[in-house]
């Protein structure tokens, strides 16, 4: 303990060693405070919460810094559902003793669970709303709210008292009685609880007394100067549970379930069936649309396949045509032109030109070049070639003669009838009657007015 004047530590003496203040009265005050605290603790242990509050408040009146008393007061408030009052006491306790204070544990416990704190706050708000409704005469609303409050916080004595009072006002004494009995276990000496219980008990006794009067003869006994009505003293008894109530409840539930099964369930099933049928119709229509789409796509696919086949056929045809195209067709013509430019001699040029198959050449410019070379070279060359072939024939070289004379025929110059005739002769000399007859007939058919035609006719006769 410190001196209240200077704050220095005190010894067992009544005076402060430092400032000389007489602290005996203050020490006495502290002792009284501790005494009340101890009384409060004893009362709290037997759940005399109202008594505890009374003595602890006295304790704090003597020493406001008695943190033990303040912490215990907070705990008692908390037990009675007065969370704000409890927090206030613990906060003050913490203010007076910042270190080694149990209030820390209590405050932290509440702060550690914000949900519980919020629920407690909601409970208080509901209680206030119910109180306002009760004061305005809305007992039903107030009772509903208070039922919620008491369910949320079973220790909120004030709410229980208010609910019990409203029950009593609405003549629901049984409920009020049960409620008060319940909270009596929390605070055994709560004056409000006891007062209400007393009221209920008195009312019960009066009712029972009236009943007795109606059914039995009233016994009146003279007792001194007063006429007292003697009625049997009865204690309150809770009604025993009536089995018929439960039986009726079970029968009601069975009938309810039966009705549900026979009336509601078929309708639900029917509704579900209709829903399913409707879904099936929708799905069928969707299916028809899909089928139609598939058919259309298949037709399109067939058309496209036909087009692909046609195009493939065209491609193959073109490939075949390209294969048939002789790329070397122009080579002979180019070779002849090359020889012409290089002036390699007319025989060479003519031999190369003769290799060109002009019937297969389609480009007109190439045909023009070929004709130009042919017109320039063939007339002059055909005579010498013919002489060469004829010499071969004369020298009995018939096969060579046939080859050379065929060149003259190919050139298609003036000496063609002569060349054809001697080709025929060469075949005749080679005993190839068939070819000989062929060439003789060609001379006769193509050049009928020539001398070679007459000679060919005579030779044909020889062959026959």
């Amino acid at each position: 303990m410190n001196c209240p004047s200077c704050g220095s530590p005190l010894t067992k003496k009544n005076k402060c060693d430092r400032c000389g203040t007489n602290v005996s009265l203050i020490q006495k005050s502290y002792r009284i405070s501790n005494y009340f605290y101890n009384k409060g603790l004893e009362k709290a242990k037997i759940r005399d919460l109202t008594g505890t509050i009374f003595v602890l408040q006295k304790s704090l009146k003597f020493n406001k810094e008695n943190t033990n008393a303040r912490n215990l007061l907070g705990l008692v408030y908390y037990e009675m559902g007065e969370i704000v009052a409890a927090l206030s006491e613990w906060v003050l306790s913490k203010h007076f003793q910042p270190k080694d204070n149990d209030a820390d544990i209590y405050i932290n416990d509440i702060q550690a669970n914000p949900t519980r704190l919020e629920t407690a706050n909601q409970t208080i708000k509901k209680y206030n709303a119910a109180l306002m409704a009760a004061k305005q005469g809305n007992d039903d609303l107030a009772i509903i709210q208070l039922k919620k409050v008491t369910n949320l916080n079973h220790h909120f004595l004030r709410a229980h008292h208010l609910l019990a009072l409203l029950y009593m006002r609405n003549n629901e004494k049984e409920k009020a009685y049960r409620l008060l009995q319940k909270i009596k276990k929390i605070d055994v000496t709560n004056t409000t609880t006891l007062r209400y219980l007393s009221e209920l008990t008195e009312t019960q006794e009066q009712r029972e007394g009236r009943d007795t009067k109606d059914t039995k003869d009233t016994q009146r006994v003279d007792s001194g100067n007063d006429n007292l009505k003697i009625s049997p003293v009865s204690t309150y008894r809770e009604e025993k549970p009536n089995i018929w109530v439960f039986l009726n409840l079970i029968i009601g539930v069975v009938i309810g379930v039966g009705l549900l099964y026979f009336l509601v369930v078929p309708n639900v099933k029917k509704q579900a069936s209709q829903d399913y049928n409707s879904k099936i119709v929708d799905l069928n229509s969707d299916l028809a649309v899909q089928t139609k789409t598939i058919t259309t796509l298949e037709n399109d696919k067939e058309d496209l396949q036909k087009q692909i086949d046609q195009l493939n056929t065209d491609i193959n045809k073109m490939k075949e045509e390209s294969k048939a195209f002789d790329e070397t067709l122009y080579d002979d013509l180019f070779a002849a032109i090359k020889s012409y430019v290089a002036k390699e001699g007319n025989d060479v040029i003519i031999q190369k030109l003769l290799k060109v198959d002009i019937t297969k050449i389609e480009r007109q410019s190439a045909v023009d070049v070929y004709n130009t070379l042919k017109d320039e070279l063939f007339p002059a060359a055909s005579a010498s070639i013919y002489e060469d072939g004829h010499n071969k024939y004369t020298n009995r070289k018939y096969e060579e003669a046939i080859q050379i004379l065929q060149t003259v025929v190919d050139i298609n110059a003036d000496k063609v009838p002569d060349a054809l005739y001697f080709i025929g002769r060469s075949y005749q000399m080679l005993s190839d009657k068939e070819n000989a007859t062929k060439f003789y007939n060609e001379v006769i058919d193509k050049y009928p007015d020539t001398e070679r035609a007459s000679q060919a006719k005579s030779k044909l006769q020889e062959l026959q």
């Binding site: 009265l25 203050i26 005050s29 406001k64 206030s88 906060v91 206030n128 306002m132 009072l165 009593m168």
Partner: protein, 46 residues
């Protein structure tokens, strides 16, 4: 018999959490020790 209306008037609204701070500040903290100190101080001054 309980007078319900009078009884109902005894019930006061409960303090909400938000009002806790005000409740703490408005608390009358004067105790016997404070009175004794004041008295001793007055005696000293005389």
């Amino acid at each position: 018999m309980i007078d319900f209306e009078a009884e109902l008037e005894k019930f006061q609204p409960s303090l909400e959490i938000e009002q806790a701070e005000d409740a703490i500040y408005n608390n009358d903290m004067t105790d016997v020790t404070d009175i004794l100190k004041e008295m001793m101080q007055e005696m000293k001054n005389k």
